[in-house]
């Protein structure tokens, strides 16, 4: 293979590998914008992966699989919403519990599915004209519909957060819930809504992983992607556009690791190659934290803090 086709292959794989992380981190980003920290992303992705695979397998319809995955992720996140918004439980603890529960449930539900090839998947759709552009065309404009959907969601959420009244309220709920409440915004409804949307997107990311990216289901197949998605929200400084960039950086590393392993040109043990995404996450997080401190852009001020109306 010549360098050109290797590069095209890696970059196409980058998009595919980045998309599950992108969905999950978009979801977490919205949840955190509303002031709720949900560390259960890994668990919700796992349950999404298994639900998507299971339902696609039974119905032979990948769309039903996607819907099931989003419902499953949404249901799991509802538990977190109940815990953190209504019962004011420590959000770190509740999120960890969600990950443990999701890991267990997914392994339970998917036991019969291990090693089976996904019977249906999403076909690649070439976008007319654009897909004919040399180099860029095959990489960006010959993907499956969910890739396009993820990019549309990035733009839509960016617009929603920064350009609409609803987005302003959302940010107020995350920054200063008491003020938002005084303005007449229903803080609890906003938080419930965005925790559930976050869960649905994490579920979608999981389903993309099992239905499209690997086309199989395996126990613990998310392999830390949910946690990487949480880290990416910090890297993204809570901006959807930067989440897109971050997700593709990770997709790129994953795709390159996979290629390097297959080619075995560097003679590096595959164990070290597999460490790269995790090491990169730590480095990126360190760098992003310093940036946010320096530029004084930080997390939503009320992130992780339960809101309680004054007793009256």
């Amino acid at each position: 293979m010549d360098l050109y086709s290797i590069l095209t292959a890696i970059l196409s794989a980058t998009i595919i590998a980045g998309t599950p992380i992108l969905f999950a981190s978009l979801g977490e980003l919205l949840t955190e914008k509303a002031g709720v920290l949900n560390l259960g992303v890994e668990g919700m992705m796992m349950i999404g992966a298994v639900a998507g695979f299971l339902v696609s397998f039974k119905t032979m319809n990948p769309w039903l699989g996607i819907i099931a995955a989003m419902l499953a992720g949404g249901c799991l996140s509802l538990v977190h919403a109940l815990m953190s918004v209504s019962l004011r439980v420590n959000q770190v603890v509740s999120g960890l519990a969600l990950t443990i529960l999701g890991t267990g449930l997914s392994a339970f539900l998917g036991k019969s599915m291990i090693g089976i090839q996904a019977p249906v998947t999403f076909n690649k759709m070439s976008i007319p004209v654009l897909s004919k552009i040399p180099f860029i065309g095959p990489i960006l404009f010959q993907n499956d519909i969910l890739v396009y959907l993820s990019i549309i969601l990035v733009l839509a959420f960016w617009f929603l957060i920064y350009k609409t009244k609803h987005g302003l309220r959302l940010r107020a709920v995350g920054e200063n819930p008491a003020a938002a409440d005084a303005m007449g915004v229903n803080v609890f409804a906003f938080r419930y809504l965005y925790v559930v949307i976050g869960g649905m997107l994490a579920g979608l990311g999981g389903a993309y992983l099992s239905l499209v990216y690997t086309s199989t289901w395996l126990e613990n197949m998310t392999a830390g992607r949910g946690w990487i998605a949480v880290a990416l929200v910090i890297f993204a400084t809570w901006n959807p556009l930067r989440a897109l960039l971050g997700a593709y950086i990770f997709g790129g590393v994953e795709a390159s690791v996979f290629r390097l392993q297959a080619l075995n040109i560097l003679r590096i043990s595959s164990f070290f190659l597999k460490m790269l995404p995790y090491i990169l996450t730590v480095i990126v997080l360190y760098w992003a934290t310093r940036e946010t401190v320096r530029k004084r852009i930080g997390a939503p001020s009320a992130l992780g803090l339960p809101y309680e109306r004054e007793e009256r």
């Binding site: 519990a97 529960l101 267990g104 339970f108 036991k111 995790y278 730590v282 360190y286 310093r290 401190v293």
Partner: protein, 362 residues
């Protein structure tokens, strides 16, 4: 106060307490376990097993025989040591969820001593392995600790990422340079010399690690309740601004707490290889580090309670292994664990409320 029902002069209202008594917590815990078992039953049923039979079998496996009880104690050791580490860190609101990786690094460091210095006399060997195990875990948690203390980097994500790195590192060793040439490419190191094995209780697999766990629990309890440093840790956990105001060196304490927290998990790893396995191998821990988080939380971060709760969860692990032998997915364990935690969290909230019938204006 929220009045839900009003009469002429007397009203029924919710009262909220900040803490709940140990007795009500115990009741919450018991009810939570029962509810979690009910949830688990649904999933066992989905897999076409009879939940009651499965639970009975699980219970008998962990408590019904001398062997079962001994296994329950053996599995409680790593949970206890790592759980103590987690409890200490959580006390200061340092979310060290990297106990799993710290266990692997402790096991790795202790193994290095046993493999490279096999001629050490028994007493020195065990001491050196203990120190190495502690250091291995401690360094692995100190790095995220330094990043957190100096630059404010979120320790939840870094400690978790370090788990994956540590497991891959141990896999690299046992598949590669440390693999036993006599094992026909199995991912295991050569067997340790006898001098590198912890003594066991005659007739059982219970090893000296239980002693480390109990001593660590008592020492940690005394340090937290009776020393100035323990007081600093508790104050910082309650209110960081108050701690700063009181002139407590938070940066130093973050690093110190992370170091000890990881060191205790490292000891758990050392105890696994030197007390149970006698070698380093793939999958030395079936998620002890994650279960330890639950142990610490359910013990309400109290070192003495960690000891008791670790037995509860090890019996669940032993029961889970047994259930696997009759075909129930191993995931029954993490499903039950997650469900127990959720029910306890919710139950604690509810136990803080009390309905009281009081005179208006009281």
């Amino acid at each position: 106060m929220l009045s839900v029902f009003e009469k002429k002069k007397r009203i029924l209202r919710f009262e909220r307490k900040l803490t709940i008594s140990p007795l009500s917590y115990l009741i919450v815990l018991v009810i939570s376990i029962l509810l979690a078992l009910a949830v688990g039953a649904i999933f066992i049923r989905i897999n076409s097993f009879n939940p009651l039979e499965v639970y009975q079998f699980m219970f008998e496996s962990s408590f019904g025989s001398a062997y079962g009880i001994s296994e329950t104690v053996v599995k409680a050791i790593p949970l206890m040591l790592a759980g103590l580490g987690v409890a200490l860190a959580f006390r200061m609101l340092l979310w060290n969820i990297g106990a799993e990786g710290q266990i692997y690094m402790g096991a790795f460091a202790a193994t290095a001593i046993a493999l490279y210095l096999p001629r050490l006399p028994a007493g020195i060997m065990i001491t050196a392995m203990l120190l190495a195990g502690f250091a291995g875990g401690a360094i692995w948690s100190l790095i995220p600790g330094i990043m957190r203390a100096r630059a404010g980097v979120n320790e939840i994500i870094t400690t978790l990422m370090f788990n994956y790195i540590a497991i891959l590192w141990v896999n690299y060793l046992v598949f590669g340079p440390w693999s036993d040439p006599a094992s026909f490419n199995q991912p295991i190191t050569p067997k340790f010399p006898v001098s590198a094995m912890l003594p066991t209780l005659p007739g059982s697999r219970i090893h000296l690690g239980i002693f480390f766990g109990l001593v660590a629990a008592i020492v940690l309890y005394l340090v937290l309740t009776h020393t100035r440093w323990g007081y600093e840790v508790r104050v910082t956990g309650e209110s960081e601004s108050a701690a700063k105001y009181a002139g407590i060196n938070i940066t130093r304490n973050i690093m110190l707490v992370m170091l000890i927290s990881g060191g205790l998990a490292g000891l758990a790893g050392m105890a696994e290889v030197a007390g149970v396995l006698g070698r380093l191998q793939q999958n030395i821990s079936p998620g002890y580090g994650y279960t330890a988080i639950l142990v610490a939380i359910l013990a309400k971060l109290n070192p003495l309670a960690v000891v008791i709760v670790s037995f509860l969860f090890s019996s669940l692990l032993v029961g889970g292994y047994a259930a696997q032998t009759i075909g129930v997915p191993a995931a029954i364990v993490s499903t039950l664990q997650g469900a127990i935690l959720f029910f306890v969290l919710a139950g604690e909230f509810m136990a803080r409320f009390r309905l009281r019938y009081v005179r208006r204006g009281d």
